[in-house]
Structures are given as C-alpha cells and as structure tokens.
C-alpha cells in the first residue's frame, strides 16, 4: 500500500469510528448479531468436524468391511442390508482363506485383569480379541514391543498387548514387555505396550460403539486364544434364532453375528476379486444347504462403512444446518441495518462526491466500516465460541463432547467467517451508497 493509500485508509478508519460513535446502539446491535451468528456456527461446526472426521485418512480407502447375509430375506431391513457383523463360521473362513493383503477378525472383550504380584487387586478392563494382522493393518502405534505373529494366532498363544493407560496403572508406565498378566483367570505374557491410541470414530468396532466411545482400549488378545478360553463377547450379539447350546460353544455353531472384520485391499483389482470371492463363499453356503437365498454381500471401504452405519449423529448435522441458518439471518439483519445507516448519510456522501471523491473512494470508505464491524463481531464471536464449546462439553454426551475442541484453525476460521460474511452483508448497502447523486443531495438540503 502506498503512503497515500495508508493515509486514506486511516482516514476511513476515523470516519468509521465517528460513524460508530454517532449511532452506538445500532453498531453494537450489528456486532452482537455477527458475534452470535458466527459463534453458533463455529460451535456446532466444531462438533461436526469432530464427528465427521476420517479416523485413518491415509489408509481408509484401502480398508474394507465385508458383510455376508447368513440370516436371509426375512431378517433384512427395507434396504436389503445383511447383518452388520459376521458369524463365527464366516469370520474364520475368511481369515483362513487370506484373500486380502491383511485381515483381522475382531470382537469386544471385557475381562478382569490382575498383575502377577503380591497385593494387587483385579481391575476390569475393556479391549478386543483380534487377529495378528490387526496391528500392522491399522498401523497401531507401539511404545514398547510389538504385536504377535501369525504363528501365535495359530497356536493360540497366551500373549497380550496392553494399552498405555493400563500400563501406567499396573506398571507405572515402564517397559512391561515380557511380564505376566492374569486375564480372566489365565496367565498371559505381555508382548507389546501401545503408545496413546484412541481413534475416533472406532472404525474397527462400529457395531459395538456406534462410532464414538470413551471406553479405553486396554487389552488386545489373539482372537482364537480368547475364543478357546471361552471368553464371551461383551459387545452386541445379534441372532436370527437362538443358539442350540449355551456359552461360546453354542455361539460358534450358530448364525449369531458378533464379530467385526476388516480386510486390506490395495487396488481396484483386489477389491473386484474380493467381491467375487465373497460371492463364491455365499454361493458355496447356498450349495451346501446352509442358506437358501442368493448371495447378498456388501464390501465397503471405511468411509462408506461409517456413512452406512450413520456414525455421524443426525443431531450434529441438524445443529450445524440450524446454526448456519442463524448466521444467514444475522447477516441479512446486518445488511438491513447497514443499508439504513449508510443511506442516512446520503448528505455526507453527496458532499464527498461533489468535492471530487470517486465512486471507488465511497466503496473503500463503507467497506472499511463494514469490515471493522466484521472484525469486532469476529472477536466477540471468538469469545462466544470458546464459551459455546465449553457448553457443548457440559451438554452433550461425553463420547462426542470430548472430541469438540477449540484450536488455532478454528480461531482463524471464526475470524475469517466473521470478516468475509460482514463484507458480503455490506456489499449491497455500499453499492447503494455509491449511487447517491451529488447534485441531487446538495439540492435537497
């Protein structure tokens, strides 16, 4: 900006300040409207951003969730959707066939664990029984050690990976790899300790979490080891008919669904051949008489899966929509008030135009004034957004509220939104101001 430009700009600032002083009520009203509108939008946006994020953006397109219809047409919803989880027979068949580059069967367990030393008390923990591929496939971060091997899967080794919180609680955060841990009454060797890991939504177990959860991932056990130990799923078990026998034995034989499954498919070809493989598996079930219906499978990548499972709560979308509506009303309101304010100064504009100010100068003057209101509204909006996010923590369930936070990007976005939207609101009133005819104004005085 040239020196002359700077001089003019500070002149416009002064004019704007003088105008604010002349009608402080109207100015305060506009700043309040912008502040509230922006704050409501940004608060709801902070929640929306938190719940609609991709938990594993660099890889989610290559991770797939298969569904196989073992229940038949009578149990399908109106969209023909097969059950959201797998039964034991399907899960183990898919595992054994290894058609993806990596794959894992997953189910939720909540055992009591006990550190093997005198005077320790058992604690209840949550976690998952998973296949060994789970850790490399999901790129789970380790603080110490690593996951277990496929051989461990096969020989049902008593090994366990524990989370960082449990490691702090039981071992004061030191490297506990190699120590023993009693899990549900049996001894397991710790092979790995995770670094902090809390993916939201819990894309690998949507069926039990619905997406967002405050439950920690404290332990991971080998899938077949947990099944062999009779550890029941503490997640949802859906049955089209009751298992013939109790406990996990009955569950294994039944068509009850309780197992989540993820498979990594690296390119379109792999996806195509996996679909064909799933169809082949379903047809084989049909041929063997286990099912009497045509294959009805699904294979979705993680983003599509999250969408199909309605992980983003409808409330969040509705709130954002309504808050954006509020912002628009605030802008229309500001636009109306600016129009009134600017036109009231027709005389002043007429004089400025008459003594030689070009239209551009009028634009600059009034947009500067609108911009200042925008910035003031933005600053108020920042404070109110902070307050709003604090309220969200108090109002919403912990699993979602804990994800909404104020960060630098949100702050910048709030200011920008306030500034740009106020300038937009000021555009038409300014345009009307530039139309003022100098001679006409002077005559009418």
């Amino acid at each position: 900006m040239t020196a002359r430009g700077q001089g003019l700009f500070s002149y416009y600032l002064e004019l704007a300040l003088r105008s604010f002083r002349r009608s402080p009520g109207l100015t305060a009203l506009m700043v309040l409207a912008i502040g509230f509108g922006v704050a409501a939008s940004m608060t709801t946006f902070s929640v929306f951003r938190a719940v609609s994020g991709d938990p594993i953006p660099w890889k989610s397109q290559r991770l797939f969730v298969p569904q196989v219809d073992v229940w038949g047409p009578s149990e399908r919803g109106k969209d023909g959707e097969p059950p959201a989880a797998l039964d034991y027979r399907t899960a183990t068949s898919l595992l054994n066939d290894r058609r993806g580059s990596m794959q894992a069967a997953i189910y939720k367990v909540s055992p009591a664990v006990l550190a093997m030393r005198a005077g320790s008390h058992p604690v209840n923990v949550d976690g998952h029984a998973v296949s060994s591929d789970f850790f490399p496939m999901l790129e789970v971060p380790f603080a110490f050690g690593s996951g277990w091997s496929r051989q461990d899967d096969e020989r049902r080794a008593n090994v366990v990976v524990i989370g960082d919180t449990l490691n702090r609680r039981l071992f004061q955060g030191r490297n506990s790899v190699g120590e023993s841990l009693q899990v549900a009454g049996k001894s397991y060797r710790i092979v790995g300790v995770l670094a902090h890991w809390d993916p939201q939504p819990r894309f690998f177990d949507i069926v039990n979490t619905g997406g967002f959860t405050t439950t920690r991932e404290d332990v991971f056990l080998p899938f077949e080891t947990a099944v062999g130990a009779g550890m029941a799923s503490t997640g949802n078990t859906g049955c089209s008919k009751s298992p013939s026998e109790g406990g996990i034995t009955g569950l294994k034989e039944s068509t009850c669904v309780w197992i989540s499954y993820l498979v990594q498919l690296d390119d379109a070809n792999a996806v195509r051949s996996y679909r064909a493989y799933l169809d082949g598996y379903a047809r084989q079930l049909q041929d063997s008489g286990a099912t009497t219906w045509a294959p009805n499978n699904r294979l979705r990548d993680v983003p599509a899966w999250l969408d199909a499972q309605h992980v983003v709560p409808a409330d969040t979308g509705v709130s954002l929509l309504v808050a954006l509506g509020l912002l628009i009303v605030c802008l229309v309101n500001t636009s109306g008030l600016l129009l009134a304010k600017f036109l009231r100064r027709s005389g002043e504009i007429g004089v400025r135009r008459a003594i030689g100010a070009p239209r551009g100068a009028i634009y600059a003057q009034f947009l500067t004034e609108a911009g200042m209101i925008g910035i003031a509204g933005g600053l108020l909006g920042l404070a109110l957004t902070g307050l709003g996010v604090a309220c969200v923590h108090w109002l919403l369930p912990a699993d979602i509220a804990s994800l909404a936070r104020v960060d630098f990007a949100l702050l910048v976005l709030t200011l920008l939104l306030a500034l740009i939207s106020t300038l937009l609101a000021g555009l038409y009133p300014t345009f009307r101001a530039t139309l003022v005819q100098p001679t006409w104004q002077l005559k009418s005085q």
């Binding site: 130990a229 009751s242 109306g336 369930p397």
Partner: protein
Amino acid sequence: MTMHPMISALRRHKAGVALIVLQIALTLAIVCNSVFIIGGRIERIARATGLDEDGLFLVTQQWVSEGDADGKDAIERLDTMQREDLAVLRALPDVASVAPINSLPLLNSAAWNGGIGLAPEQPKANLQASFYFTDENVLPALGVKLVAGRAFTAADVEHKALGDANTPSRIIVSQEIARRLFPDGSALGKNVYLDGGGAPASIVGIVERLQTPGTNAFSTSFAYSSVLVPTRLNSTFSRYAVRAKPGRLAAAMRAAPDALYQANSQRVIAEDGIQSYADIRHDAYRADIGMAMLMGGVSLILLCVTAAGVFGLTSFWVDQRERQIGIRRALGARRRDILGYFQVENLLIVGSGAVLGIVLAVGLNFALIKRYEMDRLPVTDVLLGVVCVLALSQASTFVPARRAARVEPASAIRSM
C-alpha cells in the same frame, strides 16, 4: 386508514423491506423447526418408563478368576454366587427389595431383543420385544404395576448360562404386548413362542407399562414391548436392581459395594458399578437435553436479533420521515393514526415475511425429513411460530412508532 400511501412509501424502501421480509421468513422457518425438534425431545424425555424410579439403583459387578463360564459346574458355581449376592443385598437394613436383571429401561446396553410368535417355529415373529431376565422379586424391586394375572413365584424361576436358548415356560408381558398380540383382551393364560422357538411360554401376568432398555430409533419402534422372564442368567458378571427403603437411597448405595466385597472379595465393582436410576435416566437423555437446549438457544438468539433488526429499521424510517409525519400531523392526523400507521406497515411487511416463512419452514422440514429422517412438521407449530413472530415484531415496532406519534406538527416546518 387507506393502504395506498403506505404501499407507495414501502415502494421507496424496496431493499430495506426485502431484507426484513427475508429475515422474518428465515427466522420463522428455523424457529418453527427448532420448536418442533424441542417438542419432540421433551415428549421423549417425559415418557414414563413404568418403573417407580425414586429409590431404585442398579449394581453391576464382575467376579474374577472365573475364566471358564462354560460347563455345568461353572454354571452352578456362578448361580450360587449370584444367590449369595442377592441374599447379602436383601439383608441390608436400608434395602427393601432386590432382583437380578440383565438390563433396565433406558440403560442402553445389554438389551436382549427378540421376536414373539403366536405359533411354534414361526419364520417371521408377530412382534419385536425386549426380554428382562430376572426372578420372583422383580415386581416390587422395579415398582412395576401388575394389572392382571399373578407375579412369578420362586417355583417359576430357573437359571441358565448367558447365551442359552430363551425357553421359559411362563412369562409376564407388558400391556402393550398383550394388546397387540391379542386385541380382544384375552392374553392372560395364552401361549406364545419366543425367538422362533418351538416350546410354548404361557402368559401368567400382565404389567401396566414397562419400557425397553434401548433409546435409539430402532428400539423406539417397540419401546413398551417388554417381557419378564423368570430366569437368572449365569455369567461372570451380574446386575442387580435394588430398591432402597423410602428416603434411604444414598445410604443403601453406600452400603451395597462394601457388603458385596465383604461377602466375596474376588470381584470388581467399577466406579460406575453403582448407579442410581436418576443417573441412568440422565445419561440416556443427555443428548436429547443437549439438543433441546441448543435449539432453544439458537431460537432465542434468532428472535432477539430479528426483534432488534425490526426495531433498528423502524427507528431509521421514523427518523427519515419525520418531516412527512409532521405534515400529516399538521393536516389533522391524530397521534393514534401515526402509531397505527407504523404498526400496520409493520404488520404488512412481517405478514408477507410470514407467508414466505411458512413455505421455507415446510421446505426445511422436507429437507430434514429426507436427510435425517425427521417427522412431518405439524401445522399448529407453524401457526404458533407465525403468531410469535408477528407479536414480537409488533412489540419491537411499538417504541419507534410511539416516538413517531410524538412528532409535533410544527416539525414539518422546523426541519426545513
């Protein structure tokens, strides 16, 4: 009063009028839908569970070093421990009644949902229901009202492993189920078949009202279709519904974990293992309360902004037309006429805004139905919104209009 001068005056402020009309329309559309959402949430929160909620709490605990829950011996051992726990809780001085139970209304977890059929091994159930596995003390413990038949007796109660087939010979159902399965009112004593099974379960009692554990959209479709099953479920964890004596809830909740640990220390009762029913209810509806408050807050801000906007623009117009008002007064218009002029002018503007707003409200509602499966907005809510917006804008016009009415006829000359 003729409308002609008013309309020609408004023509000179096209942009200002258009902005107010747009603002009123948007406000109306959003407020109608928000109020509708709030109403729906309040209705949801206010529905009765059928329980006597005061004085009720839930104990959730897990025994340790019982890795293998399978096998006949394990089941017997787990059942013995469960019966011991029940006796310990029942013996507490502040406790009135105790029953084992897999879940409670609004708990949102551990629900056992299944179908009920009228014929054995029916492929498609007649209706969806939620099962509560419990014992003969369930009615006093939950405070559920029996309206026909009898309660369970100790002889009715069996026990089996969690996950075993659900094949009780006697059940108690909610009135909702009785009415829907047997509309002629003959449910008592009839046989039904659970989960597509082949063994009959006879309805021995009917309770007035009992909500299911789930509160999501799927569970809400059968919110009051509950069945009480006289079966203790045996697993490494158990839940007990405990009714404290009147006024002794806090004392009973404090005493329960200590007594249980004393009886058998090989167990875990987590921090949230002792929950009062008031807490369960609060957790279940937290999102609904939050949503209702958010919508309420947004509506309130909207109405304030719109009221302030109407106030601001009317003030501007009054200032601008001071001379015209003076002339009208000089020509014989009374104060009342000037006041009425601005009020009617506002009514015209806001009225046309409201017409547009009704269209927008219905449009927004359709969009929400399509995208988020919301219900149809009732006409009464829209009309209520219209009345609200009209009243509010009339009120915010009043102050500047009164100022206009006070303009002296002489100002027609003075401001020249």
